[in-house]
């Protein structure tokens, strides 16, 4: 099971496995149906920089369309970056091709969201799980069989699963098959894109625990992409929050939840329903107005200014905020983060929903807007 070169854990901790610098991924778009006039490019990812340390889990959160999946896929060079650099263990992924790219790709694997569509229904599990071994020429014949059984065992599936087909398994089990496949080549990095969103909560917990066990046992590094903030916080060491193609805040997981500094993070956290009526009844909720603007034509200045309840005149509209380190390891891209954090700047009243005030309908507790 162990890889060829055992790496000293101490040195592992303080080096970055992945370094992303000013990454941009644009997709061309056409206005017309047939005689396409050239439209604005969709700026799915527009200047994103971050690092993933060896052995850590970096959570990437944001709403649909914010570019989090594109970041994950570009990391594996499933998309070509428009600009910027992606260094994987010091090698620039964007400049590689052919054999060198394939050799590097063996070290990074992906786990997909939908366990129903990411497995070939006509192949049995043994075939699915051993495919990466064949593709990379790592094992074949009885050696591959042995490896398949080993992998099934690691992800908690019985050996008999090898001869069965995906439709015979439940969603949670299929996700285990997908994990076994991604582990086949002994990767360093796993990009998990919404790996538990399609699963029921009781099954979700099983898969999350499995992901954590695998990380501990195999020394994996995860980029965990998800929209469920509670799940992301549970599994991540650090979290990056994305909005409309940019990263607006990065912080250690607990710190991000205890002290969100970007208004978008605040709104996102306050929007998550808490499974406790007592908490739901008393907490302050920021309700964002409107929808996500189009990434083909992002707002000027701070991209969040069109929906931001803390927006201040002119500067937010004109000047794009850079990520600034506001506390140790905690960066946010907001001009007014300090003032908002200290309470000097308050949110607009209409953005703050009244606490629900309990179920007995006592309206007395509601502050008048």
């Amino acid at each position: 099971m162990t890889d060829t070169q055992p790496v000293d854990t101490a040195t592992r901790q303080d080096t970055d496995l992945v370094r992303v610098e000013d990454l941009k991924v644009y997709f061309p778009s056409n206005d017309g149906l047939i005689f396409g006039r050239k439209g604005n490019d969709i700026r799915a990812v527009d200047g994103v920089s971050f690092t993933i340390r060896r052995g850590e889990t970096l959570g990437l959160v944001g709403e649909s369309g914010c570019g989090k999946t594109t970041v994950g896929r570009t990391l594996l060079r499933l998309y070509d970056p428009t600009a910027g650099r992606i260094l994987f263990d010091g090698n620039d992924i964007a400049s590689l091709s052919g054999r060198n790219l394939r050799r590097l790709r063996r070290r990074m694997q992906m786990v997909f969201q939908d366990p129903y569509s990411s497995l070939n229904p006509r192949q049995n599990v043994a075939n699915i799980v051993s495919e990466p071994l064949r593709v990379h020429g790592l094992a074949k014949g009885s050696e591959a069989d042995r490896r398949v059984h080993e992998l099934l065992d690691i992800v908690g599936l019985p050996a008999a699963a090898a001869n069965r087909y995906p439709h015979e398994f439940s969603g949670g089990q299929r996700q285990r098959i997908g994990l076994a496949r991604s582990l086949a080549v002994n990767p360093d990095l796993i990009v998990a894109d919404e790996p538990v969103s399609a699963l029921d909560v009781s099954i979700q917990a099983q898969v999350i625990n499995l992901l954590e066990d695998l990380q501990n046992d195999l020394g994996l590094t995860y980029l965990f992409i998800a929209h469920d903030l509670a799940v992301v916080r549970h599994i991540s060491d650090r979290i990056a929050v994305m909005y409309l193609g940019t990263i607006v805040e990065v912080a250690p997981a607990d710190e991000l939840y205890a002290r969100p500094l970007h208004p978008y993070t605040k709104a996102l956290l306050s929007a998550v329903p808490i499974p406790d009526p007592a908490v739901e009844a008393s907490r302050e909720r920021i309700i964002l107005t409107g929808d996500l603007p189009s990434p083909a034509n992002p707002p000027s200045g701070c991209r969040f200014h069109t929906r931001c309840p803390y927006r201040q005149p002119t500067r937010c509209d004109d000047e794009e905020p850079a990520l600034r380190e506001l506390a140790s390891g905690h960066t946010a891209a907001c001009h007014w983060a300090e003032d908002i954090d200290s309470g000097t700047i308050q949110p607009r009243q209409d953005a703050v929903a009244a606490p629900l005030g309990g179920h007995s309908g006592d309206a007395a507790a509601r502050p008048v807007a």
Partner: protein
Amino acid sequence: MPLLEVRDLQVRFSTRGKTVYAVNGISFDLDPGDTLGIVGESGCGKSVSSLAMLGILPKPAGRVHGGQVVFDGEDLLTLPDERLRHIRGNDIAMVFQDPMTSLNPVLTVSRQLTEALRTHLDLGKKEAAAEAASLLDRVGIPDARQRLRDYPHQFSGGMRQRVGITMAIACRPKVLIADEPTTALDVTIQAQILELLRTLVREEGMALILVTHDLGVVAGICERTHVMYAGRFVETAPTGELFANPRHPYTVGLLKSVPRLDAARKQRLDPIGGAPRDQTSEPTACAFAPRCAYASTESWEQLPVLRELDGATGPAAHRVACWNPVPEQDLVAAGIRQAPTGRQTGDQPDEERQA
């Protein structure tokens, strides 16, 4: 007499010689202004129950096997189609999970909205258009009058769900059934839609049945919650009581398996082992027994029915269908309840509140 009275509703699906026992006898009452949550995981029968109540089960596989759904003195399950169609939309309306599939993609929003208004409320063309615009405005769609001319695909997901809600409330129904209304939406949009539902219930006095898999969603909106497993209610209580003092091992399992944003991070989650019951046979024992740490011989042999805990009846009743309800000390150990015996629910430290 309650507004809606569901008694022992049973739904089965038959396909190629196999029968799936989807709903196996659920009962509840709904009064005007009530907000009721039905929570469960996929396949537990929560959506099928609501489809069955409205007579829109997928045919011919699905059929109501037994029970009554009495609305305003009439049993919806035995009504002729014509009459049922009148009640559906007029008195009881439904909001579906995915507004993209529940709206007609080739008709403008205006056409679809005014159709309902004209059939059910007998409005003229002009009046219907005006009413449609004011309804869209009511649910918070900007430029309502302009947007009437748009097709569903021109709306974003959240806006589309607002249109779906508009269609449902167009005739001022007495009961609104919302089946996973926010599952397809992002959290910030979900918050908007839940806020809208809350407002509508408060201001229009509608009764709401909210069907969802998300415990967090019911916590913020429902007065009473039913937990459903394998086609039966396994626990039902006022929502506050249910979360503070869950007694069915399945409810406790659900609460323990979700990570919570407002609590300290746990080392490990406690999943519910095993998989949901294969429902191709009629349940004759506790359906949760194979996954349950508290299962006893009785659990494997006899079907538990909902029974009151601590004698509270009426709106405060807390009922559990379990032979071995989770003992209090285990709730304390699981961190669901505080150690002292006082049944206070509202005094948790409010870590979530931010300055």
